[in-house]
Amino acid sequence: MMKVFLAIVGRDLRLGFGAQGAMMTTLLFFVLAVSLFPLGVGPEPQILARIAAGVIWVAALLAAMLSLDRLFQTDQEDGTLDLLAQAPLPLGLVALAKTLAHWLTTGLPLTMIAPLLAVMMQMDLAVMPVLLLALLLGTPSLSLIGAIGAALTLGARRGAVLVPLITLPLVIPVLIFGVGAVEAASYGLTASPHLLLLGAFLAGTLTLSPFAIAGAIKLALE
């Protein structure tokens, strides 16, 4: 079963890292969106440092949404979804494999590049580890909840618009605790309650979302 799971992850990584893959567009959007703030708000370090956590989180959230509508759509359009449904693997795990590949091509690169942007936003270097940890715990939840939206909008004509509309309200907790962790650390307080809540949220979405995604894909297979 693990072999089949890895086969799906491997194929989606190849497609994701490829020229038409999601990774480059996601990263470029993230970098561009954050770099607009110093231009728009002005270069005062205090103001930038004050809004850094929120800007980075919101930009990461929107960047993660960018490629979500294609997560299952391409497979449905060319008939690959039928193949995936015939694999000797429960549909929930198929969905989890695809979501893991999505996170590895979007959430993880976003997390890796975030410290660079944080420096540009004048964020205190001491806060960096908390920012990284918060993004590492938060971005998988974005992919998992986003995948539910992506599966639900399969076959809908304006999927690209619908996915964020469905998904964004559901990921507000990730945004609140993600920013909360970084802000707490920058005030010299402990970030662990926020990080623990992000972890709890991830544990919840990791266990529950495969069922929701599988249910939505089953509907699309009809």
């Binding site: 072999k3 089949v4 086969a7 799906i8 038409q20 015939q86």
Partner: protein, 200 residues
Amino acid sequence: MALAVEGLVCIRGERQLFSDVNFRLAAGEALLLRGPNGSGKSSLLRLLAGFLPAASGRVLRDEEARLFYVGHQDAVKPQLSTEDNLVFWARLLGLDDAEAQRQSVAALEAAGLSRQRRLPGRYLSAGQKRRLALARLLVAPADLWLLDEPTNALDTAAVAWLGGVLATHRTSGGMVILASHVDVPLPDARRLDLPEGRLS
């Protein structure tokens, strides 16, 4: 291995496609689905594949039996090479890497796609994509093949090849249910006319 379908009813979008479809299929037998567009041939195949719930009736088959469904889409990823497209399917079925590679190469050879092995899927013609989709049948054994318009875009040589593949599959006890508008080389297959469900 046998398949029995009893009193099957299919409703799509509040419209009844067919009702009271009954048939039995024993090892080595084939069933040809015929009917005008929209008569429910594809829906019946998707229903048998387990993608679509039946409004009523039941499908009885061996729990262990493996079935392959090849729809009218080719499921060829344009970015992946012909071989990688097939290897992915083989690995999806649980074959380990070396075995998946070996079976894929053999299946491509049989489908006449050896020369296109390294070619990205986007450069394949419609007929070649179809042959690649059908080559999936050869990667691993299955008891029941569900084929939706398998001859679409195939040239006469490829149709003859498909006829041979179907015959070999049936000789080894496999069953075939096939929907097609055109003549398919499927000797002594029974025929089910939809939407009436008349068996002949």
